[in-house]
């Protein structure tokens, strides 16, 4: 680890990251279209739907948020939506944990921006780049900014024209995110032994998913993978 090059930041990296984010577009567009459509159906104003996409910017929690959305809020319902959001987004803690060695020497303001914009897809793109030896933090931020813009545009389109969107199942687009994730698994492959914890993660995740409702299975599986990684010499 100590022999790897020092992290840095460049504008060329921003451009590289913007280009590298292209494979995540289909998933982002489908999810944000679906959110915009659902928000309009639920009766949210454009400002409310865009507020969620601009600032919360986390698909699963935006969708779950719609389920507990209120016309008139009380302190209790605010607390409820906060709790629900925290539970759904707790998996993001793991993304940050893997990025820490890369972001350690960055200025705090740029880290705050980079992390405000972090998503699984942007993280995947950055992680692939990092695994292949890249250290330019601009790549992570370039992908993040690009995907954030795509998210906003698709939310607006979904809000106004959601009914016009074709049935995603016909094109396999309902599974576009898992398919993208699985493709991004390949660059991480370093042989069978380092992948053994992944199997533990998958198994624990599957069992948790079968037994416990909600999104907790991701965190449970990933933590099991970390523990397996620590135990396997």
């Amino acid at each position: 680890m100590s022999s790897s090059p020092r992290p840095f930041f460049s504008l060329a990296g921003l451009r590289h990251g913007a280009r590298a984010s292209l494979p995540a577009f289909p998933g982002f567009i489908m999810f944000a279209l679906a959110f915009g459509t659902a928000a309009a159906q639920k009766g949210l104003s454009l400002a409310e739907a865009m507020g969620l996409s601009l600032f919360v910017y986390a698909g699963a929690s935006q969708m779950v948020g719609l389920e507990v959305w209120q016309k008139v809020w009380t302190p209790t319902t605010i607390l409820t939506i906060m709790m629900v959001t925290a539970v759904v987004n707790s998996r993001m803690i793991l993304l940050g944990a893997t990025l820490q060695p890369w972001l350690r020497h960055e200025p705090i303001a740029r880290n705050a921006l980079n992390l405000f914009l972090i998503t699984e897809a942007g993280w995947l793109i950055g992680t692939r780049y990092h695994t292949e030896g890249g250290r330019d933090v601009g790549v992570l931020l370039g992908a993040a900014i690009t995907l954030w813009i795509v998210w906003q545009i698709a939310t607006i389109l979904g809000f106004f024209a959601g009914a016009l969107v074709p049935e995603p199942r016909a094109f396999g687009l309902d599974l576009v995110m898992p398919i993208f994730f699985s493709a991004m698994l390949v660059p991480l492959w370093k042989g069978v032994r380092p992948a053994l914890p992944w199997l533990v993660a998958g198994a624990v995740s599957f069992v948790t998913h079968a037994l416990v409702p909600g999104y907790g299975y991701i965190v449970a599986g990933a933590l099991a993978g970390v523990i397996a990684g620590m135990l396997i010499e």
């Binding site: 605010i78 699985s182 299975y217 599986g221």
Partner: protein, 107 residues
């Protein structure tokens, strides 16, 4: 306190909800970095961290894939195979989506 309740009950309540969601989401986003900057990176911790990215991916996709039956598993397999052969992520994505569409069209 009733002032706060009145404000939350006003049309501004939605803005409060969005701000609250934004705050907790941002805390989740930064927590991992903050946490790990206080952890001493021993060889054991490093091994665990190295296993984390692949573990996150498997933990995310496996239940989603198994929920959708064998066509989904074949599609993920196609994406992985094409990605391994070409290293071009867009081709892997297209192979997965194409495989899934074809299987569903034939079923």
């Amino acid at each position: 306190m009733s002032d706060v309740g009145a404000f939350i009950a006003s049309p501004w309540g939605s803005a409060v909800a969005i701000a609250a969601m934004t705050l907790v989401t941002f805390l989740c986003r930064i927590a991992g970095v903050v946490l790990m900057s206080h952890v001493r990176i021993t060889p054991r911790v490093e091994r665990g961290l190295r296993a984390l990215p692949g573990s996150i991916i498997l933990a995310t996709i496996l239940p989603a894939a198994l929920d959708n039956g064998w066509p989904a598993l074949v599609a993920l397999g196609a994406a992985i195979a094409v990605m391994a052969a070409t290293r071009i992520d867009l081709l892997g994505l297209a192979a997965g989506l194409g495989t899934l569409s074809v299987i569903r069209a034939l079923l």
